[in-house]
């Protein structure tokens, strides 16, 4: 018991808090400068979404997850060890409670938050959005008599040189080449000639991966088009035939099913007079599905919310085909956590420091009057 008390005391020590805050300070500073050259996504992955990293490419350094974990343990230990409830300490307790809620909420939400993009032209509708951070290779094979079978493999799990056997077939695939971001060269509706690698994009929806697959068939049936080039930026699938079967390959972002159908009725962009600068832009949508059938408007600072889903106005483009809106779809069941945490912290600050200021002011007036 004494040992446990000592451990809790050490884990809850204020010096550990200060140390962790200092490490966090360095991490945030380094991550900010890293963004300038490598973009936000890369900085998030390296500094703010990792357990550890090599700072300046040689110094082992804890990542945000490690520091957040230690700080949470530190906070809870301090709560057990120091923060016995008293009215005087209400403010301090609330501040630390709010902070603990924030850390725990952030930790939980990292497992549940899902972001995706939904792009619609006027008059178009869809019941799924696309996650451009998760790509998948979809293989559809079969014929009109035997029917079609679909297999899906996550792009991030594939590696150059990997061999994959399609289930219940004699067909093997070999991954010859993979790029996380590239350009498709010799681009035509029928095929892509080759791929040219590019550095990873800074935007969520900016990276288009590519890969080259070789198809082998151990049964000896002729395979037409045994080498397949797939490019994420091309909507056209690659096709090959094997005997009577057709095999279709597609590299696409992961689709996330929505609980309803969402259609874009109209998109309006209002400019400041005499300029092309947007004053406001609004997407007029129609939502139809189980338990919901209504019109809504999405604009900057006015998203559309439905249960744990929120649709934000992310962007737009005006093309020959018509106006296209791009909505950011976020599913976050722990959305309320930062609000709760923020309120607790702000309340705690007010209570604690108003009391302190009042006492301090009285002391000050006493001192200066005595002078």
């Amino acid at each position: 018991m004494l040992f446990l008390r000592k451990v809790i005391k050490y884990l809850g020590s204020i010096k550990l808090t200060i140390f962790c805050l200092a490490i966090l300070f360095i991490l945030v500073l380094a991550g900010t400068f890293y963004q300038v050259d490598f973009g936000l996504l890369a900085a998030q992955k390296r500094f703010f979404g990792s357990w550890g990293l090599l700072l300046f490419n040689f110094l082992p350094f804890p990542g945000l997850k490690t520091i957040a974990f230690i700080l949470t343990v530190n906070l809870l230990s301090a709560g057990l060890h120091k923060f016995a409830f008293s009215l005087r300490k209400t403010g301090v307790l609330l501040i630390h409670l709010g902070t603990a809620v924030l850390f725990l909420g952030a930790g939980i939400s990292s497992f549940f938050v899902q972001e995706s993009i939904l792009s619609l032209y006027e008059g178009e509708s869809a019941s799924f959005s696309r996650d451009f951070t998760k790509w998948e290779v979809v293989i559809i094979r079969g014929n009109s008599q035997s029917g079609l079978k679909t297999d899906t493999a996550q792009f991030s799990r594939l590696k150059t040189g990997l061999q994959i056997s399609l289930p219940n077939t004699q067909v093997n695939l070999t991954v010859n080449l993979m790029y996380s971001n590239c350009d498709g060269l010799g681009y035509s509706p029928e095929k892509i000639d080759s791929l040219q690698p590019k550095p990873p994009s800074r935007d969520m929806a900016g990276s288009f991966p590519g890969m080259i697959l070789t198809i082998n068939n151990s049964t000896g049936s002729d395979i037409v088009n045994s080498k397949v080039t797939l490019f994420g930026g091309s909507p056209v699938p690659a096709v090959c035939t094997m005997g009577s079967d057709t095999i279709i390959f597609k590299l696409k972002p992961h689709d996330i099913k929505l609980p309803f159908n969402i259609g874009l009725t109209k998109f309006i962009k209002e400019n400041h007079p005499g300029t092309t600068d947007a004053k406001s832009f609004k997407s007029f949508i129609k939502v139809t599905g189980e338990g919901i059938n209504r019109d809504a408007v999405i604009s900057m600072n006015r998203p559309f919310r439905y249960k744990t889903l929120t649709f934000y106005q992310n962007g737009f483009s005006q093309q020959e085909r018509g106006n296209m809106t791009t909505l950011l779809v976020v599913e976050n069941p722990t959305r309320f956590v930062p609000y709760l945490s923020g309120i607790l912290v702000m309340l705690g600050l007010m209570i604690h420091f108003i009391g302190k200021f009042a006492a301090s002011y009285k002391g000050l007036r006493r001192n200066t009057t005595a002078k």
């Binding site: 200092a22 963004q35 300038v36 998203p303 976020v330 930062p338 912290v345 000050l364």
Partner: protein, 650 residues
């Protein structure tokens, strides 16, 4: 009014009248050349023109504001010698050949003048007439820079491009009424063509005269097209050339600034310049009344008919009001903006804070007893003007007090002044008024640098279109910044006293408590502002926190505050440590405030600016030297004390 006190060596000013008189005398002396402008050129007054409405960058504004912005763009100043901005602009629009001699184009780098073959001027300002002769060289220098990557541009290239763009803008302004000038593609004394088009033979016709004959030209062209090229007469060939030139002019002219002629349509307001109207109205079916009034204005100006000019301006304004009333669109009264422009409350209050700062430093040195009262007096006057400026901007733009980077400095200065006066109220003197005066002066000076980037009364980006969040998030963050800055300033005095003077523990304790109190004020509001920012980001961008550089900057300030406060609780730092931490806090605030905008990345793009890089680095350098020097002196002092105490014990 003045009495000699036997105890004091100086003359004492012992009633309010004398103080007010001194205030106005000093103000007039300092501002006289800024506020009043004498008209040295012989021309009519364009004062009535100042309140005419023009559309620029999405906002309807008075010509006075437009003129000041243009003059700042070209010359870096709101006035030129002998003319107000409005008078200058009227000259450019209505009598450009006169305006071409005004020295308005600022060229900082004398090497550019050398490269253009013009004599460098001491005051670095040149006229259009001077630069016109060198325009080909200027063009080729800027073209060769534009062909290279922007990252490879040096200061010479950037300056050349800036000057070239300014010349183009000026040319567009001076061509506003070139409708009325002789059209260069038509020869004088061409009797056949003149007869065909019903023009006077003796004078060269203007473009507007040709425009009003465009139907006649079209019908002539129709007849000419029926004939073969070989059978055309010289007159007919002239008509063909003329039509071709007019067509080319229409295609290339666009809708250049200034946009002074409005049209209210079901799709909204559209604004045109005179030349822009051609692209809309190819025939003489233009809004003739407005165009004619503008021509009348121009004619009256050139003929120096004050009454004619003022009458045309008055009728034009009335017509504008009628158009907006008929279209059910609001046209706001520019009077408040004109008053705001002419008073320039932030310049006035900056100067007054500067005076207050001088008096407050005198008060610190204890050389003159009354200086403290005078410094408080001037601070309060400055604050009243400062407040009125903020309120005026809120009323003119109908939005909260802080919507852009310029306004953050204005508002933070305002809060810092108030914080200092609060310290005065709780009798921390004269530190309070020093804080008010110095921070007020410095931040208003920084703001004035940002005002050179363009019109500070700008329209909001779509993402900022939320009064609630603009009021809560940005205002609270600005309050936080003000707290940190005020605490940091007072901390300098703590360190200075501790290092360079005899230690007075009681006084140091008092200052330390003030530093702590204001540091915590800044800390609380930074946290509150950051939380509000997260909530706004959740409404706008789909997430509470995204590691955007501006967000990271706010987090760094909060982390620093947490480290400091926890270190105080742990006993790891005391008064001196707190003071040093407060100074570092100011550095962090300035890096977040100004430095992050220099990175040019992230979602807070509406704050991006390249202004301030040099000053920021100089400031960081200064604070580093200050802290290192103080640290060295303090450690030498403490070693000396330790040695003495050891000697004593022996």
């Amino acid at each position: 009014m003045f009495t000699r006190n036997k105890k004091d060596t100086g003359i004492m000013l012992n009633n309010y009248f004398s103080r007010i008189l001194i205030f106005f005398c000093v103000s007039y002396f300092l501002l006289g050349t800024e506020v009043s402008g004498s008209q040295e050129k012989k021309e009519i007054s364009a004062e009535s023109f100042a309140s005419m409405t023009v559309l620029e960058n999405g906002r309807k504004k008075p010509f006075d504001t437009y003129a000041r912005n243009k003059l700042i763009q070209f010359s870096g100043k709101q006035k030129i010698k002998g003319s107000s901005a409005n008078q200058w602009l009227a000259r450019v629009l209505f009598n450009p050949s006169d305006a071409d001699l005004d020295l308005i184009f600022l060229i900082n780098n004398p090497e550019i003048a050398d490269a253009l073959g013009i004599t460098p001027r001491v005051k670095r300002r040149y006229s259009f007439a001077e630069l016109q002769n060198a325009f080909q060289k200027l063009n080729s220098l800027s073209e060769s820079a534009m062909q290279r990557d922007q990252d490879s541009w040096n200061s010479f290239d950037k300056e050349v491009i800036r000057v070239r763009n300014n010349i183009n803008d000026y040319y567009s302004l001076r061509s506003t009424f070139s409708f009325m000038e002789p059209y260069p593609y038509l020869q004088k004394n061409d009797t056949t063509l003149a007869n065909l088009l019903g023009l006077s033979v003796s004078s060269q016709p203007s473009y507007v005269q040709l425009l009003y004959r465009s139907e006649r030209i079209s019908s002539l062209m129709h007849e000419i097209q029926m004939k073969s090229a070989d059978s055309l007469t010289i007159a007919e060939m002239s008509i063909v050339m003329l039509a071709k030139k007019m067509y080319q002019t229409e295609k290339t002219v666009g809708n250049p600034s200034p946009h002074i002629i409005p049209e209210i349509t079901p799709d909204g307001e559209k604004w045109y310049s005179l030349w822009g109207l051609i692209n809309v109205y190819h025939t003489d079916a233009m809004p003739t009344k407005m165009v004619n009034l503008l021509f009348t204005m121009q004619e009256a100006y050139v003929n120096q008919s004050q009454q004619g000019f003022d009458e045309a301006v008055k009728q034009y304004k009335y017509l504008l009001t009628e158009i907006f009333a008929a279209g059910n669109v609001k046209l706001s009264n520019p009077r408040l903006e004109l008053v705001y422009n002419s008073i320039n409350p932030f310049l006035l209050s900056k100067i007054i804070y500067g005076i207050a700062a001088l008096f407050s430093l005198l008060a610190l040195s204890l050389l003159w007893k009354r200086s403290h009262q005078l410094s408080v007096f001037f601070c309060i006057i400055g604050l009243i003007l400062h407040t009125s400026g903020i309120i005026a901007r809120m009323v003119i733009m109908s939005h909260p007090p802080v919507t852009n980077l310029y306004e953050t400095f204005i508002f933070t200065a305002w809060v810092s002044v108030i914080l200092g006066l609060v310290l005065e109220w709780v009798k921390i003197r004269p530190m309070g008024v020093v804080t008010s005066a110095v921070t007020g002066f410095i931040f208003l000076h920084i703001a004035s640098r940002y005002s050179r980037d363009g019109d500070t009364l700008g329209m909001l980006a779509a993402v900022l279109d939320s009064s609630f969040w603009l009021t809560t998030h940005i205002v609270t963050i600005a309050l936080g910044y003000a707290g940190f800055v005020a605490a940091g300033l007072i901390a300098h005095f703590y360190i200075f006293q501790k290092v360079f003077t005899k230690t007075d523990e009681k006084n140091l304790q008092l200052i330390s408590r003030a530093v702590y109190g204001i540091f915590v004020f800044g800390f609380i509001f930074t946290i509150v502002g950051t939380v509000f920012g997260g909530m706004w980001a959740d409404q706008s961008w789909g997430r509470f926190w995204g590691w955007d550089p501006k967000e990271n900057g706010a987090l760094l300030i909060i982390l620093w505050g947490l480290i400091v406060l926890h270190s105080l609780i742990a006993g790891m730092i005391k008064g001196t440590g707190l003071a040093i931490s407060a100074v570092i806090g100011v550095v962090l605030v300035m890096c977040t405030w100004v430095g992050v905008n220099l990175l040019g990345i992230g979602l807070h793009s509406y704050g991006f600016s390249s202004t301030g890089a040099g000053v920021l680095f100089m400031y960081i350098g200064f604070e580093s030297v200050f802290l290192i020097t103080s640290g060295i002196v303090l450690s030498i002092k403490s070693k000396g004390r330790h040695r003495n105490s050891v000697k004593v014990s022996i």
